[in-house]
Amino acid sequence: MKVLVPIKRVVDYNVKIRVKADNTGVDLANVKMSMNPFDEIGVEEAIRLKEKGVATEIIAVSVGPKEATETIRTALAMGADRGILVTVPHEVEPLAVAKIIAAIAKAEGPQLIITGKQAIDDDCNQTGQMLAQLLGWAQGTFASKVAIDGGKADVTREVDGGLQTVKLSLPAVVSTDLRLNEPRYASLPNIMKAKKKPIDEKTPADYGVDVTPRLKVLKVSEPPKRKGGVKVKTVQELVEKLKNEAGVI
């Protein structure tokens, strides 16, 4: 079966971001960009399914700027077979991304779509679920384990109280949580090979999707900063301060 893996180019998780002085957004000039870590887990899971003989072809899809080609190349170097880049002129909301990917899914016919559970830039946590709804498919979000058996997928999900397992009819959408797997690093020969793998370039118009944002961003600001406090020397001093100064115990 075909597996579709949507991936997003985001600010690297190690970067401490800065809010622009005019409060219009976050400063992305000269900042290191990487594949969204949850999407990397999605690519890895798809590759493992291919290694097990469950998946036959892995298509990495990105909706983003032209530079997202690099992100797709990373997925191809890890082991995806081909890529589709849908270039957009500005930030696109999860609903529009889901519509584009739904249109690609209708054309490609995958049995499984593996998304990251959230992108670490906008922290929306929406695209996978919206995609499942648009396609009329089942979903297994926040997955820590995926087992495919015939036309079903057993997905173990990380939920507030612990773990929950659901059985999904395929085709389905799975969104990854941190403990699903540990993504591999691409080897040098695979990075070289990835340069020859095909990437189709498309636009939202090819899929008839209007990407105009629905929400208006009025401003982006810095959160109030916490002031560092004091160092205490002993446990006794700590307990005394928590009791008499802070009054929290």
């Binding site: 773990l163 659901v166 009791k243």
Partner: protein, 314 residues
């Protein structure tokens, strides 16, 4: 503006997050109905009816809602949404699971994890692990689908007297089925709702060593949490994780033990009223947000802390 709030519960009890999300719903300025979808959840509906400000409770009691699967929940909510201008739910793993389906079905953008209601159509939400705050405005006339970060709102009082109305189940799309739950059992308060949280990180070195924290937690009636590093290392289960992609907590007191303080962890606890850090590395970034820092070997300091609390009658 008529608002539908989807209740967070486990069929037995109504979760605190519902009362907190209710405060956000009421801030939108219209009557608020609460939907309780579950199985054998009459008691939950009665509890929701007591929340101050609720106009009425809608109870959908059916086997297909027993585990609140996203596919069935979304179908029901979309069916009810016609009469409302906004649909809200707490940003729990349950709300995060079904709400985007509702938004997609209604063809609207979802506004995730709001931390304030700035006007009837204007909201603030954290982005980049809480390192920036984004204020967004929803388009006039469109339905709003919103999840609420419950730690950012005060719980509504339980002095209300709303009525409970029952509705039938929606058609089950039959896409998925529940297999099993493996839930952590604990006598301690829930992490998301606890007044005091004691969390451990990689510095704990093993799952067994978390007993040291549990002893302190028991003295303070606290919940026990963990950093991602401790969960990834297998010291404790995933539901202990505090951070950008785990639970967001804002207790009166947060005690971080052996946690270095990666931005992803800070995102989950920096709104705590008082933060204590115990770490042997005095350069650890956690000290930059801690109100009280103790540079010490946790294996000495934590048992000492438990002893001191015991001595003082906790």
């Amino acid at each position: 503006m008529a608002v539908l709030l989807v209740a967070e519960h486990d069929n037995k009890s109504l979760k605190d997050a519902t009362g907190k999300a209710l405060s956000a719903a009421l801030a939108l300025g219209g009557p608020v109905d609460v939907l309780v979808a579950g199985q054998g959840a009459r008691g939950v509906a009665d509890a929701a009816a007591k929340l101050k400000g609720v106009s009425k409770v809608i109870l959908a009691d059916d086997a297909q809602y027993a585990n609140q699967l996203a596919e069935t929940m979304a179908t029901l909510i979309v069916e009810l949404a016609g009469k409302y201008d906004a649909v809200l739910s707490p940003a729990s793993t349950s709300g995060k699971n079904f709400m985007p389906r509702v938004a997609a079905a209604l063809d609207v953008a979802q506004i995730s994890e709001i931390v304030s209601v700035d006007g009837p159509d204007t909201f603030t939400r954290p982005i980049y692990a809480g390192n920036a705050l984004q204020q967004v405005q929803a388009p006039a006339g469109a339905k709003k689908v919103i999840t609420v970060r419950s730690t950012a709102f005060k719980a509504a009082e339980a002095t209300g007297t709303a009525s409970v109305e029952t509705v039938g189940a929606a058609k089950n799309p039959g896409l998925s089925e529940f297999v099993k739950d493996e839930l952590s059992k604990s006598e301690r308060p829930e992490l998301a709702a606890a007044r005091v949280v004691v969390s451990g990180g990689r510095g704990m070195q093993s799952g067994d060593n978390f007993h040291l924290l549990e002893k302190v937690a028991d003295r303070l009636k606290a919940a026990v949490g963990a950093s991602r590093a401790a969960v990834d290392a297998g010291f404790v289960p995933n539901d202990y994780q505090v951070g950008q992609t785990g639970k967001v907590v804002a207790p009166e007191l947060y005690i971080a033990v052996g946690i270095s303080g990666a931005i992803q962890h800070l995102a989950g606890m920096k709104d705590s009223k008082v933060i204590v850090a115990i770490n042997k590395d005095e350069e650890a970034p956690i000290f930059q947000v801690a109100d009280y820092g103790l540079v010490a070997d946790l294996f000495k300091a934590v048992p000492e802390l438990e002893e001191e609390l015991k001595k003082q009658g906790y």
